[in-house]
């Protein structure tokens, strides 16, 4: 049988399984077929996650937030700065208040740049953003699914009548938009909340509705989003931080794998937000930015903000060309010099090595190939001696304040798995009062659109689906045609001609492999 005939047969058999929505079989050129399967999302999302209480993941998160506000500390927290529950994944201790303060202030600044006047905030919590943004608005509708959290917020609002008079609070789930009209707001804020959504399907439903209620020219701000292309690096950095010196590399790799598999929060690739442009016509542009700030914590290192521009947006300049940082390793001094020589030109630099996380990435690379019997103590010594080669994103952003006449914008839209970022320097004379200029940022590779979200709480279910698919194929196909590997994906990559993009699928599979 010809390869393409065999491929068609394998795909037909895969499609017969009730858990499969779409499927492609790709020969890897060596061992045989790899099956790429988009699971039936209704089936997957409809099955309750693990839980002896039989509760849903969303219900568990609600209860977690309820509980967080039942402590003595929560009762005495300052107005608009209740940091209860903000614990470091590394130390398991509360993140220092000054770091949370920097994170809040940067987030507020970024939202105020969108010039909001009527805001709908999903997951307002105890009002850390609300207390700072509402004074600039005519109307601020704040919703949260936790009655205990909302009760705490209402208590605090009573002490600040000047803010309370423009704020409405509502207890409802994020996907409940009942009674909200089209174009009713100019800004929707979903900050540090998407990670508690039960699935990417749920998030898409929320964003479709959010965009519906935002009028053209407005924005949906999705902040503090956990970064999927860097999830393994983040897991490795935590496990490395927590492991004793005598732990072996093989055991550490297992711990990293388990941490990624057990992830209970929704973790998203920037490619997810970029792909929404094809699904939602009212969405005109998406900006993806690493978080600003000097504090060294999991938010600044591994999270980003997605700014969705609704309708009526300026066309991006077609002139954006990007210098490649990896070819010249430009220093800050050299970048300043380039800007000085081109005072009236937009300058882009792509693939800047990210000093915030370069050591984590270097450690991950060493660990991937390390002898399983080597100890963490030995490996750690090598990691700590790695010198810094990249540039801290905040150092690039601070160029804006050095009298060079440029504003600076960063992007993580390219989904670089090594955490590199892109920068664009826009001369003030060209900016013409536009707070967020449209820029032709480098786009991700096609393989980055294959897996754009994890599936929190579904690890066991997805493993069972793969086992069922393997058994189903073994029963219905000759041995040589049974796929050697099965990978669950969000989307089958297609070529511009509409064919399955085998190269992109295999690249996505290779990127997902971990020893």
């Amino acid at each position: 049988m010809q390869d393409n005939q065999a491929q068609a047969v394998v795909e037909k058999i895969l499609h017969m399984h009730p858990g499969v929505r779409e499927a492609a079989a790709v020969h890897d050129g060596h061992d045989g077929f790899v099956a790429f399967v988009v699971p039936d999302e209704l089936l997957m999302d409809g099955i309750s996650v693990r839980g002896t209480a039989g509760s849903t993941l969303l219900g568990k998160w609600q209860k977690t937030f309820d509980l967080s506000q039942l402590s003595k500390e929560a009762a005495s927290a300052p107005v608009g700065f209740n940091t209860i529950g903000w614990n470091s994944s590394y130390t398991r201790q509360p993140i220092p208040a000054e770091e949370i303060k920097e994170w809040v202030e940067n987030t507020v600044e970024d939202i105020l740049l969108l010039s909001p006047t009527s805001v709908y905030e999903i997951g307002c919590g105890t009002g850390m953003l609300l207390m700072r943004i509402a004074p600039h608005c005519d109307r601020y509708v704040a919703v949260d699914f936790s009655p205990v959290v909302l009760s705490r917020l209402r208590e605090q609002l009573r002490t600040v009548p000047s803010i309370a008079e423009r704020v409405e609070t509502m207890e409802r789930r994020a996907d409940n938009f009942d009674g909200l009209g089209e174009n009713a707001f100019d800004t929707v804020v979903i900050n540090s909340v998407a990670q508690y959504f039960p699935s990417v399907t749920y998030l898409t439903k929320v964003l479709e509705n959010a965009i519906h209620i935002v009028r053209p020219g407005g924005h949906v701000y999705v902040g503090d989003v956990r970064n999927l292309p860097l999830l393994r690096a983040f897991a490795a950095s935590i496990e490395l931080f927590q492991s004793e010196d005598e732990i072996k590399a093989g055991e550490l790799r297992d711990r990293i794998r388990r941490r990624v598999e057990r992830e209970q929060e929704l973790v998203l690739s920037p490619a997810y937000f970029l792909s929404l442009r094809q699904q939602i016509p009212k969405l005109s542009r998406v900006d993806i930015r690493p978080l600003r700030g000097r504090a060294d914590n999991e938010m600044s290192r591994y999270r980003y903000e997605a700014i969705l521009h609704v309708g009526q947006d300026a066309e991006a300049s077609c002139e954006d060309e990007f210098l490649d940082w990896t070819e010249r390793s430009y220093s800050l001094k050299e970048i300043r010099s380039i800007l000085g020589e081109n005072p009236n030109k937009r300058i882009g630099i792509k693939r800047i090595q990210n000093a915030r996380i370069e050591k984590d990435l270097a450690a991950l690379a060493v660990l991937r190939d390390a002898d399983a019997e080597l100890t963490v103590g030995g490996l750690r010594h090598g990691f700590e001696e790695t010198s810094s080669k990249g540039i801290h994103p905040q150092d690039i952003l601070d160029l804006e304040f050095q009298g060079l006449g440029f504003s600076v914008v960063l992007s993580w839209a390219a989904c670089s798995p090594d955490g590199n970022y892109d920068a664009c320097f826009v001369p003030a004379v060209l900016q013409q009062g536009v707070a967020m200029p449209a820029i032709n940022w480098p786009e991700p590779e096609a393989s980055e659109f294959v897996c754009t979200a994890n599936a929190p709480g579904q690890g066991r279910l997805r493993k069972e689906l793969i086992d069922h698919l393997a058994a189903h194929c073994s029963q219905n196909l000759p041995l040589e045609m049974v796929p050697r590997n099965f990978m669950l994906v969000d989307k089958l990559a297609l070529t511009p001609g509409g064919e399955v993009d085998s190269r992109a699928l295999l690249a996505a599979r290779n990127a997902s492999c971990w020893p």
Binding site: R50, G51, T52, A53, S55, L57, K60, W61, K63, T64, L67, S68, L70, S71, K72, G85, N87, R92, V148, Q242, R258, E261, R262, Q264
Partner: protein, 83 residues
């Protein structure tokens, strides 16, 4: 009244479901040590509410209260005696 053995069994199930088959002593830290995640605390809370009638909305909640089998058992005993 259900006792420590039931609590131990419940915690053991939670750990196993999280891929943790390590030894479990009654004084071992569960949440502050990172063996269980914050979302697992909800499982323990619901278990205590449903099986022992503990009302956290009344008594308040801190992770320390349920950080070990010993702590959970002390909480259950305290609720039973009305202290």
């Amino acid at each position: 009244m259900k006792g420590k053995a039931e609590i131990h069994e419940f915690v053991r199930e939670l750990l196993t479901a999280s891929g943790d088959d390590g030894p479990l002593a009654d004084h071992d830290s569960l949440l502050l040590s990172g063996r269980l995640q914050s979302i697992d605390a909800v499982e323990i809370v619901v278990f205590l509410e449903e099986n022992f009638g503990i009302d956290f909305a009344q008594i308040g909640f801190d992770r320390d209260q349920i950080d070990s089998i010993d702590a959970i058992y002390a909480l259950v005993q305290s609720a039973a005696t009305g202290n």
